[in-house]
Amino acid sequence: MSVVNGYLLISRRVWQVAEPGLGIVMPTGIGRDELRTLTGRGAQLVEVLPAGDYDWAHLPGAVSLPLKELDAKAGQLDRSRLVIVYCHDWY
């Protein structure tokens, strides 16, 4: 894994992590395999869809933190553990 011209190279995928020169670190996009690895290491999984979507189906171990309630309920998360967020799909 390395940073090249502002891009982080992770297992055949290229994720932009920074605007070159701006010093902004962006959230890291990950795939299914990385998710399993990270949750295996203790990462906390957060579904940000509305509660009804969470009740319908959610990844094992995920907690519900709907986007609209994010600011109010983010304190429930453990700041010492890495956070992975997800919604329904890419969009």
Binding site: V25, M26, P27, T28, G29, I30, G31, R32, E34, L35, L38, A43, V46, E47, V48, L49, D53, Y54, D55, W56, A57, H58, L59, P60, L65, L67, L70, D71, A74, L77, R79, L82, V83, I84, V85, Y86, C87, H88, D89, W90
Partner: protein
């Protein structure tokens, strides 16, 4: 939605935040376990159905189909991807030593295990289809979904 959440949490000091960008749709389409009330096609799919490689002799595949009691036999490549389906009529009409790949139906319709089971069964009943092939998003086989397997 999740990129906004990730940015927001990072701004609130929860860094680094990771975003599973393909999301729940990707997870469920891969036939992975989930919690919740959803009744998805994968839950009612018959697993461990008869399969063959494209080079398998027709006579052997016909025996598989007869042992299973229902068809088709799914024809997989070396990666486990469904390449076609072999049906009884084509198998019975072919030479026993012919490769099943020459008589299989290529390009069969497939559905993902993440489809809502009742909606899928409704569509199948409307189209007078009794079974459909269920594959993961990478094309590998999950099994066969029979509309009649759904509890009424």
């Amino acid at each position: 939605m999740s990129p906004r959440a990730a940015w927001r949490l990072e701004a609130a000091g929860f860094g680094p935040v990771h975003d599973y960008v393909a999301g729940k749709a990707d997870w469920l389409a891969a036939d992975l376990p989930f919690d919740g009330t959803a009744q998805l096609a994968g839950m009612f799919t018959r697993r461990g159905v008869a399969t063959a490689t494209e080079g398998a002799p027709v006579a052997e595949v016909l025996r598989l189909l007869e042992d299973q009691g229902f068809g088709p036999v799914l024809v997989l490549n070396q990666a486990g991807v469904v390449m076609g389906a072999a049906y009884r009529d084509k198998l019975a009409a072919a030479a026993g030593d012919a490769a099943v790949g020459t008589v299989m139906r290529f390009g069969v319709s497939t559905v993902r295990p993440s489809e809502d089971a009742a909606a899928l069964a409704h569509r199948m009943n409307h189209a007078e289809v009794t079974r459909t092939v269920v594959t993961r998003s990478d094309g590998t086989l999950v099994g066969l979904f029979f509309a009649a397997d759904l509890p009424s």
